[in-house]
């Protein structure tokens, strides 16, 4: 049995990727199981999906704790959560990144393939749909599943030209891995990784160390300070100090209380700003521009 854990953000298609892997494996006569981590799904929030593939029906029903493969659909995730948690000693990591893997934050030593899936997707779709290139790359790395089955799975889900585009992107991801100069980079644990549990402030929130549960789950206000939702952001609001007059309209509209006025200037708290862009829309002076988080 091989076990795969896919890390992505809500809306990125991690669950779809997991599902399509099972479809592809099934077409090859294998059995499989795909399921999401259960929680309040939100766009942009880190999400996980799990896949098991086997020659016989999969019976176990728990999350993948010891993955053979970790597939990361968003290069900012290693900064926020411990994506390598439980990776098997011979496990392999795939990440969508045009940057060298060594520059990212890792919690353990592991061989990492950087797949330029966003670049491929922009070329093929004009949109950052990273799934097909990542799954194509996975097909090249593991012998468990063929590129053709993955392309077929996309084609069945998205009949017509969209399916063909997905197939092309999968091919490009596959081809990338097979290039002679593309080898997994052995990354080492980086000191600055925040890691699981620390994505939330370690000293607050439900059940944090030193904070036993209240018998009625009654908590003090502002426990959400422990959840720095800034990690969900795709785009960041940038306030132009020369245009902003400190009127405070954006403050009133920010759904996450992430704006304050300091000395007649709007200041964004990037720890919590989710990048919804409402402030940018409501500012009558056009002082707030939304910039891509990836730069």
């Amino acid at each position: 049995m091989i076990e795969i854990r896919i890390h992505g953000r809500g809306g990125q298609g991690a669950v779809l990727a997991a599902e399509l892997l099972v479809h592809a494996a099934f077409a090859e006569g294998k059995f499989g199981q795909a399921f999401p981590a259960f929680g309040g799904e939100r766009r942009g929030a880190p999400v996980q999906a799990f896949v098991r593939l086997d020659k016989s029906p999969v019976r176990v029903r728990y999350r993948v704790y010891r993955p053979d493969y970790v597939v990361i659909l968003d290069r900012t995730l290693p900064d926020m959560i411990d994506v390598l948690d439980g990776l098997r000693p011979d496990g392999v990591v795939l990440i969508d990144s045009a940057r060298p893997p060594a520059t990212l934050s890792w919690s353990a030593d592991a061989p990492v393939y950087a797949i330029p899936a966003t670049a491929i997707a922009m070329e093929v779709f004009g949109q950052p749909l990273v799934n097909p290139a990542m799954l194509g790359a996975l097909a090249a790395i593991t012998s468990e599943i063929s590129l053709l089955s993955i392309q077929d799975a996309f084609q069945r889900r998205f009949p017509g030209s969209l399916g063909e585009k997905n197939g092309l992107a999968a091919q490009m991801g596959y081809d990338h891995v097979l290039k002679p100069d593309v080898l997994p980079v052995r990354v080492t644990r980086s000191p600055h990784v925040r890691g699981v549990g620390q994505a939330s402030a370690p000293d607050a929130g439900l059940g944090a160390p030193g904070h036993p549960l209240h018998f009625g789950l009654v908590v003090a206000p502002r426990t959400s300070l422990a959840y720095p939702t800034g990690g969900w952001r795709y785009a960041r609001p940038a306030v132009d100090a020369d245009i902003c007059n400190g009127c405070g309209l954006c403050v009133a509209f920010c759904p996450d209380s992430s704006l304050t006025i300091v000395e007649k200037q709007a200041i964004v708290d990037y720890m919590y700003c989710k990048g919804c862009g409402i402030c940018s829309k409501v500012c009558s002076r056009g002082a707030i521009a939304m910039m891509s988080e990836e730069g």
């Binding site: 099972v22 176990v60 704790y65």
Partner: protein, 406 residues
């Protein structure tokens, strides 16, 4: 003999397809996670004309249950589904359905009950209907969920039963998993499940009253009849599974299913999706030299006391994996298992150990089972003063208040 077509789909889709194939005349529901996909898919099937049924979007679970109660009383096949608080909001009506002997089929997509607010599967919600007269079947995988919905209508509508029947499937773990499942052809489902023939139903031609007033002169007798009906359903649950196997070549057990229990020293008893993990654990632990077996309680009400007794009485110890607790006493399933084994001859009455595992959605892994079996063996070897009836497996002491409330 294996009929139908296998394809990969979400558990909720398989349930929707099963319900559709059973041709209900009326479906009513109110959305709640993790039941939502099932009723969305059914609503879509109705909207697209694939399923000829009345789909009633209700304004609450109480209304949804009331709608199917009224519809069922007119003598048609009906379906609803809910979870957690939603099921609890149906409570009054479910008791009514059982008393009025209306064979509604419903899916309980198991989810923890607030407080704490959460989405994880456990059995607190559906188990709260233990004493209502509703028949309850717990399934372990998507295939069983599909097959059991077909069986549920057959059981519920049997003229010797006529009781609401609930198929309980662990939320997310089974409703949101994508895996291969064999879907039957409509003609085969029609062959297995004939159209519903009501015994009593509301019609202007033959006016009647459902659920009329009684007093102490006859309520006792009414309860006696209800008990006979629920007990009588045991044979029908077995029959529905046997007929299903004869028609389609597969079975998930009748009232119970056992796996390696015959020669086991330690038998683990469980319900629902943890059973799959337990099957794997039995194989793993047996390879490690531990004689472990498994009994799946598939039908929780009526309770298969005799079957559990026979299957478990060869073991030295029985560990019950409970996903629901009767607070102030112990695990709900453990209580029933003990009661069942009380009637076993003293010489082959195993030690019974209740464990709270999978409770609150805390996952049961192979290691969890290893731990449970270890504790059971310690109990056997007399290293524990007495088996603790509510072992909270995997409890994190650091989360517990040092002093009590107050």
């Amino acid at each position: 003999m294996t009929r139908g077509t296998v394809s990969v789909m979400e558990g909720s889709m398989a349930v929707a397809k099963a319900v559709k194939a059973c041709r209900p005349a009326v479906i009513s529901a109110y959305p709640i996670t993790p039941q939502t996909h099932i009723i969305e898919m059914l609503a879509q099937m109705v909207a697209q004309g694939e399923l000829e049924a009345e789909y009633v979007r209700a304004d609450s679970e109480f209304s949804a249950a009331s709608v199917v109660a009224g519809a069922s009383a007119t003598g048609v096949r009906t379906y609803t589904a809910s979870a957690s608080q939603g099921l609890l909001l149906m409570t009054e009506v479910l008791y009514y359905l059982a008393g009025a002997r209306l064979p509604v089929v419903l899916t309980g997509t198991n989810r923890q009950v607030s407080v704490p607010l959460g989405l994880q599967p456990d059995h607190r919600d559906t188990m709260s209907f233990r004493d209502s007269g509703v028949i309850q079947l717990y399934v372990e995988n998507v295939q069983e969920a599909y097959d059991t919905h077909l069986q549920a209508f057959k059981i519920a509508e049997d003229h010797g039963v006529l009781l609401p029947t609930m198929v309980c499937m662990d939320g997310f773990v089974l409703t949101h998993v994508v895996e291969p499942v064999r879907i039957l052809d409509q003609v085969d489902v029609d062959g297995y499940l004939p159209p519903y023939e009501p015994v009593h139903y509301l019609t202007p031609e033959r006016p009647s009253v459902f659920g009329s007033y009684t007093d102490d002169a006859n309520t006792l007798e009414f309860y006696y009849l209800l008990q006979q009906a629920v007990l009588g359903a045991k044979a029908k649950v077995e029959l529905a599974a046997r007929d299903f196997r004869a028609a389609f070549g597969r079975s998930h057990g009748g009232l119970i299913d056992s796996y390696g229990a015959e020669d086991a020293e330690v038998v683990v008893i469980a319900m629902g999706s943890t059973v799959g993990t337990l099957r794997e654990a039995v194989d793993v632990l047996r390879r490690e030299g531990a004689k472990v077996g498994l009994i799946k309680v598939r039908c929780f009400r009526p309770f298969p006391a005799e079957e559990v007794r026979q299957a478990a009485s060869g073991a030295d110890a029985v560990a019950v994996v409970d996903r629901a607790m009767s607070f102030g006493f112990q695990g709900v399933l453990a209580t029933d298992v003990k009661a069942a084994l009380y009637d076993a001859p003293a010489a082959n009455r195993p030690v019974v150990m209740g464990t709270m595992a999978g409770f609150g959605g805390r996952e049961v892994t192979i290691d969890t089972v290893r731990e449970i079996v270890k504790v059971a063996r310690q109990a056997l070897d007399g290293h524990l003063p007495a088996p603790d009836d509510s072992n909270f497996i995997g409890l994190k002491p650091e989360l517990l208040p040092v002093a009590g409330p107050g």
